[in-house]
């Protein structure tokens, strides 16, 4: 898979497969194309060449079905500053067409129940990320795509992220996490892949490698 922005190639040659039950880390320096790869996997971007297959469905055929399975935690919070935390979640639940979402439970889970009716504009970046995680919880996707979720997050925040990831994994899903350094993840990664200037380069794997391929999640070839 490749992707360019105007004249610049962000991804030159990427081939990646994540199986169900796997938690994969994506490492690389700034500008190596990690975020781009994640956003392509999330269907937020289209590749210049190559394809993405999510849970057996090629994304190009049925993007909505792919989107229903995938949850993206982007580097930018993607929230509305002038709305309260609660209103942001209410909006998300309406856009997700959820029948009767338990907003309070989600707010409590991410530790924002006390600030539920404050405007997001007043939140710190850590609080905003918690709210984005709350939105992910509402969606409860099978596949998690997280872009640098641990960045400047306190220990409780890191724990929250890992709990969410493990919950998804235990339910049969999988996760692809972009990070600077795999040690930040606190040992939950099954393996790590390194991206260098837009090319994959399997880094020596950390813990033991689980290769239980029940569902192809994201596969791409150039």
């Amino acid at each position: 898979m490749t992707r360019r922005f105007g004249r610049r190639w962000a991804l030159r040659g990427v081939s990646l497969t994540v199986a169900s039950g796997e938690i994969v880390g994506l490492e690389g320096h700034n500008g190596s194309g990690k975020s781009t790869l994640l956003r392509i996997a999330a269907t937020a971007l289209r590749p210049t060449s190559g394809s993405v297959v999510i849970a057996g469905t090629p994304v190009q055929e049925d993007p909505d079905r792919a989107r229903a399975q995938v949850g993206l935690l982007s580097f930018q919070p993607g929230l509305y500053d002038d709305l309260t935390a609660r209103e942001n979640l209410v909006f998300a639940s309406r856009m997700l067409d959820l029948a009767s979402p338990d907003i309070n439970a989600v707010l409590e889970r991410v530790g924002l129940l006390a600030e539920a009716d404050e405007r997001v504009r007043t939140f710190s970046s850590g609080m905003q990320r918690r709210l984005s995680l709350g939105r992910l919880l509402l969606q409860s996707p099978r596949i998690l795509l997280l872009d640098e979720p641990y960045n400047s997050f306190d220990r409780q925040g890191v724990q929250l992220v890992n709990e969410i990831v493990l919950t998804v994994r235990d339910a049969g899903g999988c996760a692809l996490i972009v990070l600077h350094d795999r040690h930040v993840a606190g040992g939950i990664l099954d393996r790590a892949v390194r991206l260098r200037q837009g090319l994959t380069d399997p880094a020596p794997s950390g813990e033991g490698l689980e290769a239980r391929i029940v569902e192809d999640v994201a596969g791409a070839t150039v």
């Binding site: 004249r7 190639w9 040659g13 289209r46 060449s49």
Partner: protein, 247 residues
């Protein structure tokens, strides 16, 4: 959407350019011939004298400007439907040539109007509609200038081109009706049969020139795009090669 492949084999490109050049020569000859025909055969208009001869360029230019916009509309529609880069380049080329023709039409209309009516502009319905068309062309071209990403630029201009096309007949009708309600000046008659042949000959000559200009611009654009693609592909391959050798 994958990068479109450009047909750059030298003999195909060369023969296409060759055909286009013949078209250009034919167009200039036809235009010269038609103008000569008009100068020799058509009588001076009883009101306007030889100034009337401007009509023989002004009106064909106007017709062909609208034709150019028609090309923009069709190419835009085809781009949205099929997604081929060539349709986008065709639309852009037609827009550039059309903008020039529209500008020429307006300038000639004003040059004709000054001695005839004493003023540079009278809100004549056809000229006014042509002015609106000019702004629609310019808006299209400026949008293209302000968007850098090629795919976004192509898709956005196709949509803008289409919507503009939908509006052209509405604008024409509205302006004409507006002027009939506030009747002051009548527009020059161009349906007098004495002028018909001269107009037709010139219209066809300008049409040939239009096709030549659009094709020429289109081929230049294709070559540019092909060159850009080669550079990009080289950058892609070089990056990969470098990674392998570094180990």
């Amino acid at each position: 959407m994958a990068v479109g492949t450009m047909d750059l084999t030298t003999d195909v490109a060369a023969s296409a350019r060759g055909r286009t050049n013949w078209l250009g020569v034919a167009g200039i000859l036809a235009l010269a011939a038609a103008q000569l025909f008009v100068v020799v055969t058509s009588p001076p208009d009883r009101d306007m004298g030889h100034l009337q001869k401007i009509m023989y360029v002004h009106v064909p230019a106007a017709w062909n400007a609208f034709l150019a916009y028609f090309v923009v509309a069709i190419a835009s529609l085809r781009y949205l439907w099929k997604g081929r880069q060539t349709d986008d380049l065709l639309a852009a080329s037609a827009a550039e040539v059309g903008a020039l023709l529209t500008g020429l039409t307006l300038a000639l209309g004003m040059i004709w109007g000054r001695p005839t009516w004493g003023v540079w502009w009278t809100w004549d319905p056809r000229l006014t509609s042509t002015a609106v068309l000019f702004f629609i062309f310019i808006a299209y071209l400026l949008l293209r200038a302000f968007v850098d990403d090629p795919e976004r630029r192509a898709q956005w201009s196709a949509v803008v081109g289409l919507l503009g096309a939908l509006n052209v007949p509405i604008v024409y009708m509205s302006v004409r009706w507006w002027r009939t309600l506030h009747q002051i000046q009548s527009s020059p008659s161009t349906v007098d049969p004495a002028y018909a042949w001269g107009l037709r000959a010139n219209a066809i000559a300008v049409l040939v020139m239009l096709i030549f200009c659009i094709r020429h611009r289109y081929e230049s654009a294709r070559l540019e795009r092909g060159a850009d693609d080669l550079v990009d592909r080289a950058a892609l391959a070089a990056g990969r090669g470098r990674e392998v050798t570094d180990g």
